[in-house]
């Protein structure tokens, strides 16, 4: 094909598609002229005007048909075939109403699939967004230093920041900030901890949001001699100062000092991350050595004429100069410029990128699998319409037209599913937002990451719905049109069915049963744990326990030129903490008090891999993941965990040189297979790019029963307890047991804390039960999602078997009739019907079992052939078989009710 021919075709297609009706009108105009001219010639030959016109029209033929041929000749046939009419969708609606069971099932299944697919993809695209919801938000950047040898980020970049802010050309308004929790005393005299930022004045210029009242921070506020000032966020102003506009210019207590309010920012302003209060960043590089100082995050805005590549190039040059001038600290450090959101969330990390891609692929595959399942029974439904399809085909409908019609019907089904999906996403987003607020972590979520139905989520909904409609509409349609239509026409007269569940559908049913069986053990495990916990209760008087995070206002004091928190500052904190513990212990309302780094059984815990000494240890259990909790004195006594073997911690175990640990029963059982754990050794294994690195050995001095504060131990059940090293742990999670109800002791706990040291603060004060459940939220959501997916797949599997049986019965109707007429035993007939379904379900169960075992092996659970596991797998197999047989029951009953005379009528 030459270029001119190709261009001519493109022009022709374009004009045909752009103005479809105009093309038809032009053709008809041309035809009418043709007939008029011909009629005129015929009149000249002697015919009357009427006869001439009639004959001209007869010679020409039907205008409609010639117009259609003309469109085909213009290459517009495929375009015409894909055009939908309102009737296609109307028919889709009628079909949905005619088969309510299928409609409900398909809608729910597609809804769940679309919700998961679009929800996850939308969230990922929000997290990976290159733009902030601010003016020219795509030009706001973050600058960070990365060690190219270790790939670790170097946050101590005060000296680099000082150089960048004065010398960079491609990035302007270079500023820095760090998070800080500030205690703000309101108009009522009550204080509240508010997450704020110590930020350069440039940060406000980067945001380009004017203050609601007063002004924002200025460079002059950063001078050490300047008056201490503060800028309030809208919520802090409204809640703490009753939205009083005269607060500007007034001195308020922020932490331990008085600061003058200079401005209030408008509602929803939380830049750079999620802050409600801002104070000037006052740091002098001269106070710190290069490579030392506090952790900072640097931000800025691309200069008017600069691109991100320009900034990268300029900072690469600066890095090279710094590496040359300061090799002792900057030899391996390189500056990176990224869109601010990506820099803050570190989503450019290759591991994150790979994770995001994997998750997206999985959710799209999930959508495809579920839609293919729905396609199975849409196929069965469509198969019952083969007469209609064959007749339409015989009347001239092209294959593409019939496919387009069935696609239109599928669009109706998919759109119902999409509506359910959007509803599910909005419900989940609302619940998640509420849960995050309740658990106190909402403040850590950046302001640009919102849990709602965003535009990108809706775009994914549309895309996935279209994909779903293609799968559930086009796939069965292609199977049922083509050569089979001809066959259908030939057999229609005989009343035979030409429906067949071919290899494709058999494979699909097999796959979905296998998929359900694979997921079922994990889902039942989750569900079982929840049921067990719900029925058993927490197992300890949870309502008597109060928990609170003990911190120092503004974080631990920092030493000049040294680490973020010095050994001295940690020791001073430990002293204050111990004094508070002593005061609490002396309070008659308190029966015990201790601290740890995490809630027992909570989600946010350290779970390193451990290696057990090889003496007598079973090989496969030598290395595995376990929780590592650091606990204070009296922890085991407070939670009533007497040692079942060995001892609990003594004061000497908190010494940095004491390498002792206590393990729980699950750890001892898994690591030592019932042998004595006391005196055995374990050590932490860290997997690095250079291979595994091991830490020092720890000796096991005690074993306690499993305990998780009433939470289902979904995380590793195996727990190691290490005594909190003296003077190291910060912050401390306090656990106070009181004689009455924990909620009534909050005020007393606060007053005792304030009396110990003015800057000692309590955060997240809540009954232990509430905190534990808040920590368990991610697992709850995980369990809910898994249960939903499993239930969907399970329902779809049953529906698939139902569809299979229905088709088999329809297909073998005549045979059943003959066999019944010949006196066949109903049981034999039933078995003949069930044989194929049984074989398919059985094969699917076997595939699922193998996949389940492989999945466990891949996840290195290590207990592949545990008795409970075998029991679950057998239970799952039996359950699937039962489900499938129940699903096949109704079609089987229909089969046995077929009257021989009726079945043979067509003969």
């Amino acid at each position: 094909m030459t270029m001119s021919t190709l261009l001519a075709r493109i022009r022709s297609w374009f004009s045909g598609m752009r103005a479809s009706r105009a093309v038809n009108a032009e053709m008809e105009e041309e035809f009418r002229l043709h007939m008029e001219l011909r009629a005129a010639d015929l009149q000249r030959d002697g015919l009357s005007p009427d006869d001439a016109g009639r004959r001209a029209r007869a010679e020409f033929g039907g205008i409609y048909n010639i117009t259609q041929l003309g469109r085909e000749a213009r290459g517009l046939a495929w375009f015409d075939a894909l055009r939908f009419s309102w009737l296609d969708f109307k028919l889709g609606g009628r079909m949905a109403a005619k088969y309510p069971g299928l409609t409900i099932m398909a809608t729910l299944a597609i809804g769940v699939a679309v919700a998961m697919g679009a929800g996850v993809s939308g969230a990922i695209s929000t997290i990976r967004s290159e733009s902030l919801p601010l003016e020219e938000g795509d030009r706001i950047v973050g600058i960070r230093l990365v060690n190219i040898a270790t790939t670790a980020e170097e946050p101590r970049l005060l000296h680099d920041f000082a150089e960048w802010r004065t010398s960079l050309h491609s990035v302007v308004d270079v500023g820095a900030f760090r998070s800080t929790a500030l205690n703000l005393v309101g108009v009522d005299g009550r204080d509240a901890v508010i997450l704020g930022a110590e930020m350069s004045a440039a940060g406000f210029r980067v945001a380009r949001v004017p203050p609601l009242i007063g002004r924002y921070l200025l460079e002059s506020d950063e001078r050490p001699s300047a008056e201490p000032v503060v800028v309030l966020g809208y919520d802090a102003w409204r809640r703490r100062f009753d939205a009083d506009t005269s607060v500007v210019g007034r001195a308020v207590r922020v932490g331990t000092s008085m600061r003058t309010v200079v401005g209030v920012m408008p509602e929803k302003f939380a830049f750079p991350v999620n802050y409600s209060i801002w104070i000037p960043l006052r740091l002098d590089p001269l106070d710190y050595e290069r490579g030392a100082g506090p952790n900072l995050f640097v931000l800025g805005r691309l200069a008017a004429s600069a691109s991100l590549d320009d900034a990268r190039s300029e900072l690469a040059t600066r890095s090279a100069v710094a590496a040359h001038d300061h090799p002792e600290t900057h030899r391996d450090l390189r500056a990176q410029v990224l869109p601010f959101g990506q820099a803050w969330l570190r989503v450019d990390d290759p591991h994150f990128v790979a994770l995001f891609r994997t998750v997206q692929i999985i959710v799209v595959l999930l959508v495809v699998v579920i839609c293919v399942n729905v396609a199975t029974f849409v196929y069965a439904r469509t198969a019952t319409r083969q007469t209609e399809i064959a007749v339409r085909s015989a009347l001239g409908a092209s294959r593409s037209r019939i496919v387009a019609q069935l696609f239109g019907e599928a669009c109706v089904l998919a759109a119902c599913g999409a509506a359910v999906g959007v509803w599910l996403i909005s419900v989940v987003a609302m619940q998640l937002d509420r849960a995050l607020t309740q658990s106190g972590v909402s403040g850590l979520v950046p302001f640009w990451v919102r849990f709602d139905v965003s535009a990108s989520t809706l775009a994914y909904v549309v895309g996935l719905t279209f994909l779903g409609a293609v799968i559930i509409g086009v796939l069965p349609a292609l199977q049922l049109t083509g050569p089979r239509v001809q066959l259908g026409l030939q057999r229609l007269a005989g009343g035979h069915s030409t429906i067949r569940m071919g290899r494709l559908w058999t494979a699909l049913i097999l796959a979905e049963v296998g998929f359900a069986v694979t997921l079922f053990p994990t889902a039942t495990r989750f569900a079982g744990e929840w049921v067990r916990v719900a029925s058993a209760g927490p197992g300890f008087p949870a309502d008597q326990f109060l928990s609170a995070r003990l911190v120092i206002e503004g974080g631990l004091p920092r030493g000049p030129g040294g680490e973020e928190a010095t050994t001295e500052s940690r020791a001073r904190f430990a002293q204050a903490r111990d004094e508070l513990l002593a005061r609490l212990q002396a309070d008659p309302s308190v029966t015990g008090v201790t601290y740890a780094n995490t809630v027992p059984g909570g989600f946010y815990a350290s779970t390193p891999h451990f290696e057990v000494d090889s003496v007598g240890a079973v090989a496969h259990a030598a290395r595995f993941e376990a929780r590592l909790d650091e606990v204070g004195p009296g922890y085991f006594e407070l939670f009533d965990l007497p040692p079942t073997a060995g001892r609990t911690f003594a004061a000497a175990d908190a010494d940095s040189g004491a390498h002792t640990v206590i393990v729980n029963r699950s750890f001892a059982d898994r690591a030592f297979q019932g042998t004595n754990a006391i005196g055995r050794r374990v050590r932490i294994v860290t997997y690095t790019a250079n291979g595994p690195e091991v830490g020092p050995w720890y000796e096991i001095v005690g074993v306690v029963r499993d305990f998780s504060a009433g939470l289902p131990p979904i995380m590793p059940r195996e727990v190691l307890y290490r005594a909190a090293e003296i003077g190291r742990q910060y912050p401390a999670l306090l656990f106070v047991r009181v004689r009455t109800h924990a909620g009534g002791y909050v005020a007393r706990l606060r007053s005792l804390t304030a009396a110990v040291r003015p800057d000692l603060r309590l955060r997240d004060v809540a009954p232990l039960e509430d905190r534990a459940h808040a920590e368990q939220l991610p697992l709850q959501w995980g369990a809910l999602s898994l249960a939903t997916v499993t239930a969907s797949v399970l329902v779809l599997s049953c529906a698939g078997v139902f569809a299979l049986m229905s088709v088999v019965v329809t297909q073998r109707r005549r045979e059943i009739g003959i066999r019944a007429a010949l006196g066949a035993d109903p049981r034999r007939l039933l078995w003949a019907l069930f044989a194929r379904a049984s074989a398919q379900v059985g094969a699917g169960v076997v595939i699922g079992l193998v996949a389940s075992v492989l999945l466990d092996w891949a996840l290195a659970r290590g207990d592949l052939l545990g008795a409970h596991r075998v029991a679950i797998l057998f239970g799952v197999s039996a359950a699937m078989g039962t489900f499938a047989m129940f699903a096949a029951l109704a079609p089987a009953r229909t089969a046995l009710r077929i009257a021989p005379t009726e079945a043979l009528k067509a003969e």
Partner: protein, 113 residues
């Protein structure tokens, strides 16, 4: 009046190309021109003419433009493109070779074998 012959499949396109190569024509004019140059010997179904015209236009072998007909009505006029003229040359050579071969084959006598 000469006896009318049925058109061989595939020859309509060549005839249209030939007709419009002699001057720009509207659809009915193409029909008349083919009748004229074939001496009225070829019968063309009028309904098949337009799909053929559109096909040739879609292939870039002819082009069209709206003009005014002799009776003052708006009419679409077709003319051959460079690609169409080239194709006409190829098809004419091919047809001549085929016609020659057919004539030779049909005139063959037992003596020539």
């Amino acid at each position: 009046m000469p006896s009318v012959a049925q058109l061989l499949p595939g020859t309509l396109d060549v005839l249209i190309l030939k007709a419009v190569s002699l001057g720009r024509l509207h659809g009915y004019g193409v029909l008349l021109r083919i009748g004229q140059i074939s001496g009225g010997a070829l019968l063309i179904q009028q309904g098949t003419l337009y799909p053929a015209l559109y096909r040739l236009e879609h292939q870039g072998l002819i082009k069209s433009e709206w003009g005014t007909s002799d009776n003052g009505r708006r009419a679409k006029y077709y003319s051959v493109t460079t690609a169409g003229r080239k194709r006409l040359g190829e098809e004419t050579s091919s047809w001549n070779r085929l016609a020659e071969a057919m004539a030779r084959a049909l005139l063959a006598t037992p003596q020539e074998l």
